[in-house]
């Protein structure tokens, strides 16, 4: 049973540069959903994969075997492959790929604990990682879920709400540009319900943006 208000987010933790080897990295948690992400690049790419005018973006979303209730077999499954594609598309529309012709930008997100909304948590973590790596971006990428559960319109779905609700929506936006870069929906919603959820998401994303800004600034300012 949800103890939060309908428009209330779970407890958010964000920390940047958690992986010294990576160009940029971040740890993001929304309640019990925890993701560690890293960006390597822009770096050399084998010639046959190179694209003459822009960077090649490679994104891998992966769930650790111990992250779920029942152990998940390691390695990519169809769901992870689709999510990786969807995240790559979101990032491709958020960074200036033309600034890095023929290079590779490799983005990795590992879900170490899964309690709903893993792909949007991963996208928030990748946004921080890309910024910390110094990669040219149009804006930070902010993502959140929303949905309908027991007739109520809510944001930031945990696993129970995601699996057993009437609808769920994954949403990613460039907050200062008002551009939607991630949008997936599943379930049943009337047009009005959908538009109401989008409004709620807009507000939630404002709060998450502030968290991202705080995480980056505190790396530099609390010395």
């Amino acid at each position: 049973m949800r103890t939060r208000k309908n428009n209330e987010l779970r407890k958010i933790e964000m920390k940047v540069q958690v992986i010294p080897n990576a160009d940029g990295s971040a740890y993001v948690a929304f309640g019990n959903t925890k993701v560690i992400a890293a960006v390597y690049g822009p770096r050399e790419l084998p010639k046959f994969l190179q694209e003459d005018r822009k960077a090649t973006l490679r994104v891998r979303y992966n769930m650790a075997a111990f992250s779920t209730d029942t152990r998940k077999n390691p390695g990519p499954d169809r769901r992870s492959i689709e999510i990786s594609k969807v995240l790559r598309d979101a990032i491709e529309n958020s960074i200036f790929v033309e600034d890095y012709p023929r290079a590779a930008i490799d983005c990795y997100a590992e879900v170490i604990s899964s309690d709903g909304s893993t792909r949007v948590t991963a996208l928030n973590a990748l946004s921080l990682s890309l910024a910390m790596a110094g990669i040219a971006m149009k804006d930070l990428i902010v993502a959140c879920t929303a949905g309908k559960y027991n007739g109520e319109l809510i944001v930031d779905l945990d696993q129970e709400e995601d699996n057993n609700g009437e609808a769920d929506l994954a949403f990613g936006i460039l907050p200062n540009k008002n551009e939607i870069v991630l949008l997936q929906m599943d379930g049943l919603l009337s047009k009005d319900e959908l538009l109401k959820l989008v409004e709620m998401l807009k507000d939630s994303c404002k709060k998450i943006y502030e968290e991202q800004v705080k995480a980056i600034r505190s790396y530099f300012e609390n010395v």
Binding site: R78, R79, I81, E82, S84, K85, V86, D89, N93, A167, L169, I173, L174, N178, E179, I180, V181, L182, L183, Q184, M185, D186, G187, L188, L189, S190, K191, L194, L195, V198, K202
Partner: protein, 243 residues
């Protein structure tokens, strides 16, 4: 892209290509349909098998959707397991069928530990764009004419049927592209390369939205309502083919 983007085949931005449907063309499949949108040609075949239910839904039948981008369909399709595009397509079609509640999975329950498994396999025969909309329509039509084999003594009897798989709802999926601030539907292969922003929206006959998948590019927040209205309108045109 200049402001004078015109479609090579002379179509309006909001018109479908010529749509052709053939039903029940695969004799050994319990349901099947071949759908063409212009030169895009896909076949959806439905096999009904005896299955065990999933542990978390012991009184429900199973629905599995798979898609093969057969190498015959395009020079870039390689033999091998489904790539990310085929996987995404199958998963989106699955969600359209499932979220719209078009099939009542509980009606597929036989007895303890035995259920009907409905397997929808999509084969792309020729790729000229808009595989998603064509595959979804083919799958829905194939399901609509699927017959359920008789179950007796622990086996399915292939040529005896106890009835049809009735569709409780009829969802359709419409992919909408945006170029130069204008919306465009049913993109052929050439158009898919140049239209950067694409989103697929699935709707039911009661105008409820059951699936959204942004496929590429970006859209403004304010556009969502227009996109939904367009998807509902065009979805209704496609729905007429499911009879």
């Amino acid at each position: 892209m200049s402001k004078t983007f015109k479609r090579i085949d002379g179509r309006d931005f909001l018109s479908f290509r010529k749509i052709e449907i053939e039903k029940n063309i695969i004799p050994k499949a319990e349901g099947s349909a071949r759908v063409k949108f212009g030169n895009t040609d896909v076949i959806a075949g439905v096999k009904v098998e005896l299955s065990s239910p999933f542990p978390d839904n012991p009184r429900e039948g199973i629905l599995i959707v798979n898609a093969e981008f057969a190498p015959i369909a395009h020079q870039s399709f390689e033999p091998g397991p489904p790539n990310e595009n085929a996987i995404e397509l199958a998963r989106v079609v699955d969600r359209v069928i499932r979220s719209s509640e078009s099939i009542d999975l509980e009606k597929l329950f036989i007895e303890e530990n035995k259920v009907y498994g409905v397997f929808v396999d999509i084969y792309v025969i020729n790729h000229d764009g808009n595989l998603l909309d064509a595959s979804t329509l083919a799958s829905i039509i194939a399901l609509h004419c699927t017959k359920i084999p008789k179950y007796e003594d622990g086996k399915l009897i292939r040529n005896e049927f106890i009835g049809e798989l009735k569709l409780e709802h009829v969802p359709t999926l419409v992919t909408i592209g945006k170029i130069d601030e204008k919306y465009i539907i049913d993109l052929n292969l050439f158009e898919e390369e140049i239209v950067k922003n694409k989103i697929a929206i699935g709707t039911r006959e009661d105008k409820k939205i059951c699936t959204i998948q942004k496929l590429s590019g970006s859209f403004k927040l304010e556009e969502i309502e227009k996109l939904i209205d367009l998807a509902i309108e065009k979805g209704e045109e496609l729905r007429k083919f499911v009879k």
